[in-house]
């Protein structure tokens, strides 16, 4: 069954929190709605679901990959042309460490960024349904449900005194 999205706009955090109760009374559970805000509210402020993620795995994988690449690079370049310089042995571990250290951390940073974007579901090519008022302090309650339940969701949002209800595909009014 195709899922659709509908967005209710509320002018205060309290009204938005009440709206999630109204949605629950209409038979829509936590999995069906999300909250769009322009400010990082404390998690659970609107009774939304707890988000699970695996972002902590990414820096570990990145660090391991960075270390491996740096090790191959430092060892490989010395072995490719074994020229003794500065009286140090070929494969002088202390001299290789700074580059391996930087490689490890660079890998960790790059993979963390990839992980953050992936887990944040970004980039997202389609914004709708969305409203620019969200970044001006309004709160959006985004309901995702089966097509036949959209009407129920809309009624619940209007009952909760939504300032506006925006359907998927409708164009936001950019100022």
């Amino acid at each position: 069954m195709a899922k659709k999205e509908i967005l209710g706009i509320f002018d205060s955090a309290e009204a938005a929190a009440d709206a999630t109760d109204t949605l629950a009374e209409s038979g829509l559970n936590q999995e069906n709605f999300d909250v769009l805000t322009g400010t990082p509210y404390p998690p659970g402020a609107f009774g939304e679901r707890e988000e699970k993620h695996h972002v902590y795995v990414f820096p570990i994988v990145g660090a391991l990959m960075g270390f491996t690449i740096a090790l191959l690079l430092t060892a490989g370049t010395q072995l490719a042309f074994p020229l003794v310089t500065g009286g140090k042995p070929i494969l002088a571990i202390p001299a290789m460490m700074p580059i391996m250290y930087e490689g490890t951390l660079l890998g960790a940073v790059i993979f963390t960024i990839v992980g953050i974007l992936f887990e944040s579901r970004l980039p997202r090519p389609r914004l709708s349904p969305y409203d620019p008022r969200i970044t001006e302090g309004f709160i959006g309650i985004l309901v995702t449900c089966e097509e036949e339940k959209i009407e129920v969701a809309e009624q619940a949002l209007r009952k909760a005194n939504a300032e506006d209800v925006i359907h998927q595909g409708s164009r936001a009014a950019w100022r």
Partner: protein, 458 residues
């Protein structure tokens, strides 16, 4: 620490996006003047590449001069970003909010400028690729990874890449605000850059984690970068005055001293230009000045240790260097100026609350610190090379040429110009952070008194 004015989201948007929609009086004149000096620097560098390094004051034995001093200085300034942004983020210091973006941006542009300096110093910048890029350009010979001169670009490149990514990730919610408030081409550009950010609870949760996680990863990079810069000197066998084992922590703490001072200077300029009195408040300058007292005193401790350790061994080149630095002009004059401007003038001043809360005095004292810290790097590099060996017939001296002075001046103008241009495109105070601070702050009743309180972020 909570002298804030209660503001709505719309007011915060209007105030903090003012820099992107309005130009303060004289803004384009300042940009034009800065661009002119930068252009002079570019022309001078081009002329020097064409004619050779003979146009500089570099000589045997002083082969590192103004450019390398400036490189170390800008690397030092770049340490402000992590010091303020990462450490204060990890410790959830409430007063960090207006300072983080300015610190990160200063890090970014000062690192870019720092990277230019060794390229210019090389005289043939394209050849640097042969020395550091891991590829066998000729006869199967790869760059020598056993030299600090290869570790250094590796560290700076890692720091620069991490900083760019850190700044961008933290900017995404603010770019979304810009996207929502613009039309036409700007709207299209911000739409692409905001990656479709909508501000879902998942996205905000991950933003918070990104800040903490990246801070934790960038901190070891921050420590390594200036340590490796110090090893550019410390590992040079020929220059005995650089053989101090405390060079790495001494350089790192010196970098934090100059970097945090640089951030305060930039914050004051931004506060004045964009009328951000409600965001960059006197309490923030007060807190930063207190932090600077601790940092500066730690730095002084390392400086004195380095001086004493040098004399303790009574090695001839070291004694000759200290004699040069303390009793021969112009070096002795520069050393006194450096000590006064880097510590003896600003730190006692910061002991006074009125100074810490005075925009004018904080501007003067933080600029003074960076004059001193630039001289500190100059006095570490140049006199040490001038008294490199024990034989007096190998001693030398150094005076910068006009070309070097122009290029170094242009580097300062370039950083300032880039910061001001950045402010035209993106907010220099994190909007989301400012809004979060409004949500988390309130007044609570304790007995008969209502006191301001801030909830800790989760």
């Amino acid at each position: 620490m909570q002298e804030r004015v209660k503001l709505t989201d719309a007011e915060i948007n209007r105030d903090l996006l003012r820099s992107t929609v309005e130009s303060p009086r004289g803004y384009w004149i300042i940009i034009g003047a800065l661009a002119f000096v930068v252009l002079c620097g570019v022309v001078s560098a081009g002329f020097m590449f064409n004619r050779g390094l003979g146009l500089t004051g570099l000589n045997r034995p002083v082969m590192w001069g103004f450019f390398i001093t400036n490189f170390v200085f800008w690397i030092g300034i770049s340490h402000a970003g992590v010091m303020l942004s990462a450490i204060l983020r990890l410790t959830q210091a409430e007063w960090r909010r207006p300072a983080t973006r300015a610190a990160e941006i200063l890090t970014l542009f000062s690192l870019m400028t720092a990277m230019l300096m060794p390229l210019i110093h090389a005289g043939r910048p394209w050849r640097v690729f042969y020395w550091v890029f891991p590829y066998d350009w000729a006869r199967g010979i790869f760059p020598n990874i056993r030299t600090p001169l290869v570790w250094d670009p590796a560290a700076v490149f890692t720091y620069l890449t991490s900083t760019i990514l850190f700044v961008y990730i933290a900017l995404i919610p603010d770019i979304a605000v810009l996207r929502d408030r613009t039309t036409g081409v700007r709207h299209a550009i911000y739409s692409v850059l905001s990656l479709g950010w909508r501000g879902t609870s998942r996205q905000w949760r991950l933003q918070l984690i990104a800040g903490i996680l990246l801070s934790a990863i960038i901190l070891p990079i921050f420590v390594s970068v200036h340590s490796i810069v110090s090893w550019d000197f410390g590992m040079a066998i020929a220059v005995e005055a650089w053989h101090s084992t405390i060079f790495a922590p001494y350089f790192v703490i010196g970098a934090v001293h100059s970097g945090v001072s640089g951030v305060v200077t930039v914050m004051i300029l931004l506060r004045y230009m964009f009328r951000w009195e409600n965001y960059i408040r006197l309490e923030h300058l007060d807190a930063l000045a207190k932090l600077l007292i601790v940092v500066a005193t730690t730095w002084l401790f390392f400086f004195m240790l380095e001086f004493v350790f040098g004399l303790y061994a009574r090695e001839a080149p070291e004694l000759a260097l200290r004699e040069l630095q303390t009793s021969q002009m112009p070096w002795a004059g520069l050393a006194i100026t450096f000590l006064i401007t880097a510590y003896l003038f600003p730190v006692p001043m910061w002991m006074f609350r009125n100074v810490r809360r005075s925009v004018k005095w904080m501007l003067i004292t933080t600029i003074s610190v960076n004059i001193g810290m630039w001289l500190e790097r100059f006095l570490i590099i140049v006199p040490s090379l001038a008294r490199k060996q024990g034989f007096t017939f190998t001693w030398g001296t150094y005076a910068p040429s006009p070309i070097e002075i122009i290029i170094v001046t242009a580097s300062f103008c370039m950083v300032l110009m880039l910061v001001l241009l950045f402010a035209k495109a993106f907010p220099l105070i994190p909007i989301a952070d400012a809004k979060e601070a409004m949500i988390l702050a309130d007044h609570i009743q304790i007995g008969k008194k209502k006191v301001p309180a801030v909830m800790r972020e989760e």
